[in-house]
């Protein structure tokens, strides 16, 4: 993938996330494209690239929020790292396992985010039932679609 295309995807993912959050989310439920893309990059390009990209995307999410600056950056980096570990055991270049991993990591994201809130602002950060229940499946669907659109499928590990 050329650097130009990578840059376009990098910015495009942020724009897509911002647009969906701003104009298409209902009751706080919106797919986390950035998280799904982080897992996808980890599956395709390895954990290092996923962690670095995920960290910047996380900072972008944190900048738009008033509290817990650095939380999303940490969590996206950890998600990339975890996906990089998992891909040694599971073939994440297949759509179904990728969707399952994204689903699980999304729930893990909510739990860890709540715990970070408990540690740093003394209250468990609870996003609400609708986002917690609806967002992970949406992330999984988003990851499946992105996986289908990925150009260089079946990259050698």
């Amino acid at each position: 993938m050329s650097s130009l295309r990578a840059s376009a995807l990098f910015v495009g993912a942020m724009l897509l996330q911002w647009f969906w959050n701003t104009h298409l989310s209902y009751w706080g439920a919106a797919p986390q494209f950035l998280l799904a893309a982080t897992v996808l990059i980890a599956a395709r390009r390895g954990p290092v690239a996923a962690m670095l990209v995920g960290y910047v995307w996380g900072l972008y999410s944190d900048v738009l929020r008033a509290d817990l600056f650095g939380a999303d950056a940490l969590l996206y980096a950890l998600v990339g790292y975890a996906a990089g570990l998992v891909r040694r055991q599971i073939d994440l270049q297949t759509t179904a396992p990728l969707a399952v991993v994204v689903l699980l990591l999304s729930w893990l994201y909510f739990v860890l985010r709540g715990l970070l809130g408990l540690v740093f602002v003394k209250s468990f950060y609870w996003a609400g039932w609708i986002p917690v229940l609806a967002t992970p499946p949406m992330n999984a669907v988003a990851a499946m679609i992105a996986d289908l659109m990925w150009e260089n499928r079946r990259m050698p590990r």
């Binding site: 738009l64 940490l74 740093f120």
Partner: protein
């Protein structure tokens, strides 16, 4: 693979440590500076994205507006064509009216030449007294010209010109205590004299018949006996009926002007003479002369009128403006100022009668 794994361990360690610092010291200057930098770099994405989205979202609305503007443009052009026809009709009726008046021996009122002007200056200390307008001798304004204002679609009396300079003029408002205009009430065509009051936005109408029954809200119009104003121009409405003074042989009412001095921005001046520049262009005068009939007797005129009435009954002749057929309303220049009740013309035949 081992190398990538080792790098991944280092990277995750560094990023985790950095994140924990950010989370632990949210108020420290370094963290705030980093947040500001991140915001500076990443915020334009959202900002420009929103602007782009707004532009795209407004595109259908703009297209719709353009289409509606085009449709409206077509309608306005149609109206303009109709107005041109109406103007021609009014002009010919005015000529006819003038001719018939002369034939009947009535004195024809002098024609007026309207011109619009802007209110140029208003003295706060004389708010209800006078205003300056940006039309003077250069535009043919002369002393005692009637000055009218505009409220919605109606034209209302405002005052008269009391001072003229080369490029400006001073208008004495009706609300000034020195102003007076002959007027009548719509309820019973009772005549009276409308005068201004000192430092008041209301007008006072005096010399009304003591036996008259006046209701609040009655409209007050300029009288045909007014020298300055054309007849049937709205002045205001009766706001309050004053207590009857037993020592006076008349009653009086308070009038709320139709147009407040504070909202006066443009005025219509009815000039006695057009400006020099306007007279240089040949107007419809030669045409009027062409229509000039020979002197005829009243009986002949009555016969002609009766003949026209019979001819006009079945035909689809457009309704003429009532001002042109009203004996008291004067020339065509006063046609737009006639009140609505007078202006209602049910059919061409009735209008001609």
């Amino acid at each position: 693979m081992q190398r990538e794994s080792r790098i991944a361990h280092y990277v995750v360690g560094v990023l985790t440590a950095l994140s924990l610092v950010l989370l632990s010291l949210p108020l420290s200057s370094y963290v705030r500076a980093l947040k500001a930098c991140a915001g500076y770099v990443l915020d334009p994405l959202s900002y420009e994205g929103e602007r782009g989205y707004q532009r795209l979202a407004q595109a259908p609305e703009r297209v719709r507006e353009m289409l509606s503007a085009q449709i409206e443009n077509g309608h306005l052009k149609e109206e303009l064509r109709a107005t041109a026809w109406l103007k021609t009709t009014v002009e010919s009726l005015a000529i006819e009216n003038d001719r018939l008046r002369r034939a009947l021996g009535f004195k024809t009122p002098a024609p007026r030449h309207p011109v619009w002007a802007h209110v140029m200056e208003r003295d706060p200390l004389h708010w209800y007294s006078s205003v300056s307008i940006d039309a003077g001798e250069d535009r043919g304004v002369s002393l005692n010209d009637a000055v009218l204002g505009r409220v919605a679609d109606a034209v209302v009396a405002v005052g008269r010109v009391v001072d003229v300079s080369p490029h400006a003029a001073t208008v004495l408002l009706l609300t000034d205590e020195r102003s007076a205009v002959a007027a009548y009430l719509s309820s019973g065509t009772l005549e009276g004299l409308v005068q201004g009051q000192q430092s008041s936005e209301r007008l006072l109408m005096n010399y009304i018949n003591p036996e008259a029954r006046i209701a609040a809200g009655d409209s007050v119009y300029t009288s045909p006996t007014s020298v300055t104003f054309p007849p049937d121009v709205l002045i205001g409405r009766v706001a309050e009926i004053n207590q009857r003074d037993p020592f006076l042989a008349f009653q009086s009412v308070q009038i709320a002007p139709a147009l407040e001095a504070a909202s006066l921005q443009e005025v219509l001046i009815l000039r006695a003479h057009p400006s020099v520049a306007e007279t240089a262009v040949p107007p419809a005068a030669p045409r009027a002369a062409a229509f000039e009939p020979p002197a005829v007797s009243s009986a002949t005129v009555a016969a002609i009128l009766a003949k026209r009435r019979r001819r006009a009954t079945p035909g689809p002749v457009p309704a003429p403006p009532p001002a042109a057929v009203s004996a008291s309303s004067g020339t065509a220049a006063s046609a737009p100022f006639v009140r609505a009740s007078t202006a209602a013309a049910p059919s061409p035949t009735e209008a001609r009668r």
